[in-house]
Symmetry: D2
Subunit: 337 residues, 4 copies
């Protein structure tokens, strides 16, 4: 078996996670180069014994014998990097979202298609053991035909307002994971979106033109439904739950906890809070995600999450924004046409 040569672009929080997982867990690959705009990231390259460190994506693509790139740079670089990598004939893993503009996403996907390279989108939650188990139960028909999917997704705290301003808004930044989860669990296409939102956490978020609290109803092509509730701030921590109600039963995934102890005292019965945030909660999913990317490369099979998945989640996000703006249900075909 030929070793696959991989490069990582962007060494922020997620980039380092992917680099760590790629370095440790795979006999089939070799990380031959990393890229980051900051010179200080050379230290990360050294820590993981990566022989080449560069500061531009062009240099990265020029590294000899490179087979694939893992793109973890800021969102506004995703589309360009994917386009360049595709034109250079490299296989691509890219963090979500591809871009905040639907037109640009469509353009890039067209280029990817023409070049024939593979593209996987980083919807890591699909690879979370808890949610995978629920999807499995749906696939095995353990609960019959899904009728109502419920996703609770609340962050422990909001990002800085400066970030909020460039994030594309809560629906494209945070809820986009939940949109993809709804599609993943259901296995069906979303045809309509109604979103009701408010500013409850921080008035500055509202002043920045965004919302921080929302309930979003999705209708699938077969009239089954999903409902997502979001908040940018849950004082008790990261709240990530899933429930699927079907014609033959219901399956639930609760939060994950650092431990399962229970303490009984005069004051009541208590236990610890959920795992703090996405790095802790979805640790296993990042590893599994990159494993399935490598497996698809090695086996030459389809990517488990592809560009179309990225496109549709963005379209749902844009429909949700329009729904809030116009306070009416919005059809996906209004967005995609």
């Amino acid at each position: 078996m030929k070793t696959i040569n991989i490069a990582v672009a962007g060494l922020g929080r997620i980039g380092k996670i992917h680099l760590k997982n790629l370095s440790r867990n795979f006999a089939e690959i070799k990380v031959i180069a990393v890229m980051d705009v900051f010179e200080e990231s050379q230290a990360i390259a050294d820590e993981f014994h990566v022989p080449v460190f560069v500061q531009t994506f062009e240099e990265l693509l020029a590294v000899p014998n490179l087979d694939a790139v893992v793109i973890c740079s800021p969102t506004d670089t995703h589309a360009d990097y994917v386009e360049q990598a595709a034109r250079a004939g490299k296989q691509i893993f890219c963090e979500k979202p591809l871009d905040l503009s639907l037109e640009r996403v469509q353009e890039v996907l067209e280029i990817v298609k023409e070049t024939g390279v593979k593209l996987m989108l980083g919807f890591n939650r699909r690879f979370d053991p808890e949610f995978k188990r629920i999807r499995q139960l749906v696939e095995n028909n353990a609960i019959g035909e899904p009728q109502i999917i419920k996703i609770t997704s609340r962050d422990p705290g909001p990002p800085p307002v400066s970030y909020v301003k460039v994030s594309g808004g809560m629906f494209l930044d945070m809820t986009i994971h939940d949109f993809d989860m709804a599609r993943y669990i259901s296995g069906k296409q979303v045809k309509e979106v109604y979103a009701r939102a408010a500013v409850k956490v921080d008035p500055e978020i509202g002043e920045a033109g965004d919302v921080d609290t929302a309930i979003i109803t999705l209708t699938f092509e077969d009239d089954s439904m999903a409902v997502i509730d979001n908040c940018r701030k849950a004082v008790y921590g990261y709240d990530q739950r899933l429930e699927v109600f079907g014609s033959q039963g219901m399956a639930q995934a609760d939060n994950n906890f650092p431990n399962n102890h229970k303490l009984y005292t005069e004051g009541g019965i208590s236990g610890d809070l959920p795992l703090h945030f996405f790095l802790e909660r979805y640790d296993a999913s990042y590893n599994q995600e990159i494993r399935e990317f490598i497996d698809a490369l090695v086996d030459g099979t389809d990517m488990p999450v592809d560009g179309e998945d990225g496109l549709l989640s963005i379209a749902i996000g844009l429909a949700a924004k329009k729904s809030v703006a116009e306070n009416r249900p919005v059809k996906i075909e209004e967005i995609l046409s």
Copy 2:
């Protein structure tokens, strides 16, 4: 203390529960008469040692020294009986809903107001120990300002289609309890409703012009929200859960179970299903409800659920119906004006 003389009208399932509770648990009252259109119900009167059994509401109101009536007859008699009882100067407990027509409800409430009698509406779930505990936590500010209320309300099976046809539709028949619960927990008025519904359980329900599966988003006057998910059939039984998410925490009430055992076998870990249906699940609430009615009579205090509560739940239900029909959010003021 003067004994309060009470009569019960209607000896169906709920009527018998109220009669049993009234007969057993109160030293302050006496059930002096019962009424049912069916002659066979004489036996029920005998079983509970009620001295007078009649078959018309007129006869019932004519029973000497009667102080109050508990109306448990079919929905289409509620408005007339309440009107008659009010004009006769009797205190009134009436099962929900007062009527399916908003105009008729308003008319009856006007009459009740004029006569000065007290009227309590039978939203029994407010008296359920689980939900009362959650309301208490909200009142005690244990979770800060409520931002998202989530109500899961699914029945073990749909009623006969013949009943569906005269029920006023799922929103007025089943969800009306959830609308009241959202108002009770929040303590705020609903200003807008968006309902998305489908026929997933039985096509005959659709042919009868109704729906059996729905997600309803309520917006309160302060832009906080509630979301209700309903289905007429959950194969695993009666599913009644509540969650309130607020600025300082979250409170949840899970289903109630006949017992708490866990069985570990080679096949997995299992436990019993929730209590079967409303008679089992809300047994304690019926008792507590009638106790608070009696207490309000004895103490001369306000009724814990009044005509306005009944009116507003119907208005929300009508808004939900209109929302589904026109696929758009509907303001309560559109309904009430």
Copy 3:
């Protein structure tokens, strides 16, 4: 069907519970008399509309047409009252224990046997819905052959030391319920006991010659085992749990709670403490217990808990005391022979 005429002797906490249940829930019986040494208890007779109130057991037995007595007086009267009732030909329900002296118990059971009356012992926990469900699972072979039974039984607080002194000791006063539970769940006879005990709650209990904390290992005739852990004081309340481990699985009963809410705050996830003490925790069991007594009277069937059960629990308790005193395992046959 002939109405059964019943009298209650002793109107303390348990006596009042039995009187309330007997008064409310049974068409087949009539409480025709009650007895209590305190004149003030006349008020209780009045409250429950019992026509005859007397202050001696002799007078009670003399009430005409009396069929059965429910004995809830202090422990040191049990044996005498049972003997008298048996000689008078009355059916008997008696609270546990029959007596603290094994010889006296054997003597009384002999008399009961000669007179041919029925005797039921008040081991109410056998009628608790949680534990009944576990017994059912054992009977239905859901967990195969029981190998280890684990009983946790801790009180919220110790009784007054004055009571401890006359109680016969923790094993005969408190653990006796657990001994009966072990026998009930197992369905087998205990052959040997090892008890390890300490004074951890209150040194005065130790000075009174008793213990307040213990672990007791029971060995059944087939070498399967049970282990009981006791403490007179659990700061978090009444702790009553049961677990049966068998060749094909395990069944557990957790504590019962006033409600099932969960509260998530910055400080952790918490819930309410278990139901406070035996009156709350075993409320349903007292009702079911007396129902099965009445049913056995009406149907002429065997009593669900008989004198032999009472005798054996006392024998196990005495073996436990001897085991602590001599720090060695004690065979039941040492006690019974």
Copy 4:
């Protein structure tokens, strides 16, 4: 900081786990050699890029610049290897037990003491996050003074009878972990043991002179108690639970599960079984254990589990065996003197 050079002896299941963890997670160390009697294990050395593979312990100790050895070979080699390593001046991590003979253990510990090397014993469960959390609660006085410790420890299935014969018996092979856990949680010395045991799983285990099911009561120096229940076969999988009851509260650790999903169907509510066996259940503990060994080496601090801990667990195990043989409580001083 000087790099610590480490060797691993024995590449069976546990040896491979330690090798994997040592290879991946530590910048401070280097695995410079491994040893295994089987030639085929060369492949494992290659997989983890260990430069030196030898087949005898003598050769291993002769590897230049070696600082410490991790001994994972069969139990009957532990004492000799520890002795040799100590005499060669190497720091030592050794899997439990040191030896089945108390005299040999004492002898080896004497040598270790003389040579001044450090010795850590592999009681990995002390490093399990669940149990560590419970110990923390005890240390932080969250439950007051511990009075009763309860350990449930059941394996998914028995080892082969051939292994049982050389294992030293269930108490020294399996329960030894629980003895150490009781000491770790309590922080006190055990003074007396009573064990009641039976053969319930497989008669051949009995024929081999061992038991497979037991309840063991430990008494600590302050008369607080611990109770352990063991079975070699739980059909529902590996059952590892812990409960500490104290003067101010109770702390519990439940089993660990591969996921937390719940499935509701017509047949009941169910979930997956616990993690299969020790490799899955204690995965994190092996990593943490070896991390604390390395930390103690680097920092020059005391080992978190030392030879004395190993000695005392064996003494408790021997007392338990004697207790079963003579059916009486056995003092630890009877064993150690």
